[in-house]
């Protein structure tokens, strides 16, 4: 990752973690887990397209762990973040434009690929992330239908709204 791409990603890291731990995670506490908005995976999604998968996995782990440290849930967000670093690579490969990524598009944002493409990719990406997050939070398949799936569905809807708002506001290009 050259220095041109480094700083924007660092900024995204800091701002997304800040928004997550100061606003979103606090809000979810008051709603008893039924309004769990996870915006920080946007950092993972907006990593450079050409980044090697192991590094994406590690950075996912890192951003999740940072959130975990502030919310006191050591390992839960980190696990989901690491998984997202890996699924992101698979999703991007699956939804690659005709003729592969050329390198002209540094990050998978709607600026380059259009909103339709971005919404599909982000939906799958955040869906997996949030499902895994709740699986780790309950840590037992006993609650799969009673808690994990309904909470993940609600959290996914709210998260997608926040993701759309944030992307509209900041129009990330690099």
């Amino acid at each position: 990752m050259n220095s041109k791409l480094f700083l924007p990603n660092l900024w995204r890291f800091i701002w997304l973690v800040a928004i997550q731990v100061i606003v979103l995670s606090e809000a979810s506490l008051t709603a008893d887990g039924y309004c769990n908005v996870l915006a920080y995976p946007l950092f993972i999604l907006f990593l450079p397209i050409q980044i090697p998968t192991p590094i994406a996995v590690f950075l996912g782990f890192l951003v999740g762990m940072t959130v975990d440290v502030f919310t006191g849930t050591i390992g839960i967000n980190a696990s989901a973040g690491a998984l997202s670093g890996y699924t992101r690579a698979i999703i991007l490969k699956r939804f690659a434009p005709r003729g592969e990524f050329t390198g002209k598009e540094p990050i998978p944002s709607p600026e380059y690929f259009g909103w339709r493409w971005f919404l599909i990719v982000a939906s799958i990406f955040f869906g997996i992330h949030i499902f895994w997050y709740f699986s780790m939070a309950y840590f037992t398949p006993v609650y799969l239908f009673a808690k994990i799936l309904p909470q993940a569905l609600l959290g996914w809807i709210f998260t997608m709204l926040v993701v759309i708002v944030l992307t509209r506001l900041f129009h990330p290009k690099i």
């Binding site: 090697p52 998968t53 192991p54 994406a56 996995v57 590690f58 782990f61 849930t73 050591i74 390992g75 839960i76 980190a78 696990s79 690491a82 998984l83 670093g85 890996y86 690579a89 780790m136 840590f139 037992t140």
Partner: protein, 286 residues
């Protein structure tokens, strides 16, 4: 080394993911009380199952040793059982021996039988006189004229002994004559093989007034030196009286099928020589 790097380039993401996730599971279970309890409970349950699998897998390797141990144990228990029948059932008209065993002050228990476990390595059932070879011989303590039994019935009589093997006359032999009695009666007769069906023998010399029914048990009687008395021999299959005969014709289904003999116990009667000598004394006067 080169191939390891190649492997990492191709599957590096997945490998990193697995390593990181394992680390995360460890973190989750260590730093979150609820998840810690869940993982501990699951761990206990599944590790128990895993240990059971491991145990049953390893048991396969011990089966052979275990089998030998069990045979030795069985031989010991069979001889205990055979000996205890004599001591604990004094009314079973074994007057002489029981009186001796029970009333002499200095001889409370006098074990009479010893068992040597062995395997049948050759066996026939189809010809007129059938023989089997057992993998125990003189060096193992087998003597000629010892009975051969199995867990569930009688198998034959040892006739010839070499150093490591013994040749036993199967029950399916025209010379075989086993002193047997019906359970509950003291009348005794001889079990002989008529040379046809290898599953059945005939019990002779039982008087016709005995109400023998199908399903009655036939035991080894106490008049034989070859087998432990009271050992199961067979079950009455059919009992009828020939017109004009004073004895019943009894067809006995052997409790140990001669076609299905594997592990056997060779019975040694410690007093056999002594008793035979006594019988010799009166032989001329008969």
């Amino acid at each position: 080394m080169h191939s390891i790097i190649q492997l990492f380039i191709r599957h590096g993401g997945l490998l990193t993911l697995v390593v990181v996730e394992v680390f995360c599971f460890f973190l989750i279970a260590s730093y979150n009380p609820t998840q810690g309890q869940i993982s501990e409970a699951s761990w206990t349950r599944y590790s128990g199952t895993m240990l059971n699998w491991k145990r049953s897998f390893l048991d396969y390797f011990n089966l052979k040793d275990e089998n030998i141990r069990l045979r030795l144990e069985n031989a010991r228990l069979q001889s205990q059982l055979a000996n205890s029948r004599i001591i604990e059932v004094p009314t079973l008209d074994t007057v002489t021996r029981n009186v001796l065993a029970d009333t002499l002050e200095n001889k409370l228990i006098r074990p009479e039988y010893q068992m040597i476990s062995g395997r049948v390595i050759s066996n026939t059932i189809a010809v007129g006189n059938n023989w089997m070879i057992i993998n125990r011989g003189k060096e193992d303590g087998v003597e000629p004229n010892s009975g051969v039994i199995t867990r569930s019935g009688v198998a034959g009589v040892v006739r010839h002994v070499s150093d490591h093997f013994s040749l036993a006359m199967s029950v399916l032999h025209r010379q075989t004559k086993i002193s047997a009695a019906l359970k509950g009666y003291h009348y005794f007769g001889s079990l002989v093989w008529e040379g046809s069906n290898p599953e059945y023998m005939s019990l002779t010399d039982i008087p016709y007034h005995i109400p023998v029914k199908q399903g009655d048990t036939v035991l080894v009687s106490n008049y034989t030196l070859l087998f432990p008395e009271g050992h199961m021999a067979g079950i009455v299959d059919k009992a009828y009286r020939e017109p004009g005969s004073n004895f019943l014709n009894i067809r006995v289904k052997l409790s140990q099928s001669p076609a299905d003999i594997n592990t056997v116990y060779i019975v040694t009667n410690r007093y056999a020589a002594e008793l035979r000598q006594l019988q010799e004394e009166v032989k001329d006067e008969q």
